[in-house]
């Protein structure tokens, strides 16, 4: 049975996960770009990403492109499954309430 996830349910983390799940499987998004889309500060995004990484919902990869350091983030299989389960649970709550 689908259940809500405490880590994902926090509003900022929910937005982060929604943005990451919008990408295709295997796609990674740049930290700066994600920060811009979600209109968050460096520190705020970094802190929430750390929580999601600890839960193994996302993977953070640091790399160099054209000699500049870049950080890329992608959602893991576990993260995608948990997120989908969370969404199903939310929909069920609305469905239940309709009865």
């Amino acid at each position: 049975m689908a259940k809500l996830d405490n880590i994902i349910h926090q509003p900022i983390r929910l937005r982060i996960m929604s943005a990451l799940v919008a990408l295709d499987v295997g796609e990674q998004v740049d930290f700066v770009y994600l920060r811009k889309i979600l209109k968050l500060t460096d520190g705020n995004l970094g802190a929430h990403l750390a929580k999601l990484e600890n839960a193994r919902y996302i993977k953070i990869e640091k790399t160099f492109i054209a000699r500049k350091p870049r950080t890329f983030i992608n959602v893991t299989g576990k993260g995608r499954d948990t997120f989908n389960e969370h969404v199903t649970a939310l929909r069920k709550i609305i469905g239940k309430a309709k009865k």
Binding site: H9, S18, A19, L23, G26, Y33, A66, R70, L90
Partner: protein, 194 residues
């Protein structure tokens, strides 16, 4: 963990907004510069064709040559300087898109040689609708519905121009409608989807 129906609804709205925003932002990042570029090329091409008809081949070959070169350069630059979204199969997809458009133009010339249009407007309407068909198909494949609607809209403008606008005003009609639609879509994405 228990939450109310209202909280669940708010969460779902947040998810929908963030998902749509991300998809739009990515589409804007890749497509808006090219739509602006090709919108300007089409606009300039049609205006120049109206006023300098004898030079039509030179005008379009020159403008399309510039457009193709800039498009390839933008693609190369995005791939090598690191676009904000890394796709594992980016190189493969890039080549697939390149070959799709190359083959489309090869086939367009084959069809033109078979159909032998009798006048320039026929040929132009054919090329515009063939390119817009590619937009529609790409839009359906990649779920970029703005491309689907843009393709259908420009096809509609081309058909109106072909069937209802006097031939001497065809180019003046196509410049703001077809060229304008591409440019406006690119600009809208740039300003509103980022």
């Amino acid at each position: 963990m228990d939450i109310s129906k209202r909280e669940a609804k708010d969460s779902l709205n947040q998810i929908e907004t963030a998902t749509a925003q991300t998809r739009k932002s990515i589409a804007s990042n890749y497509d808006s510069p090219l739509l602006i570029l090709w919108g300007l090329i089409w606009f300039t091409g049609f205006i120049l064709t109206h006023f300098f008809l004898p030079w039509v081949w030179l005008i379009w070959m020159g403008l399309c040559g510039i457009g193709t070169a800039v498009t390839l350069l933008v693609g190369w630059w995005q791939f090598h300087t690191g676009s904000p979204v890394k796709t594992p199969a980016a190189e493969k997809i890039g080549w697939r898109i390149f070959w799709f458009w190359t083959l489309l133009f090869v086939y367009m010339f084959i069809w033109l040689s078979i159909l032998k249009p009798r006048h320039g407007i026929q040929m132009n309407a054919f090329m515009c609708t063939a390119i817009m068909f590619a937009y529609v198909v790409t839009g359906l494949w990649s779920k970029s519905f703005y491309m689907l609607w843009l393709g259908l809209a420009v096809t509609g403008f081309t058909l109106i121009g072909f069937y209802f606008i006097p031939p001497s005003y065809y180019c003046l009609w196509m410049a703001p409608t077809a060229g304008g639609a591409l440019f406006a879509m690119g600009l809208y994405m740039r300003l509103r989807w980022r």
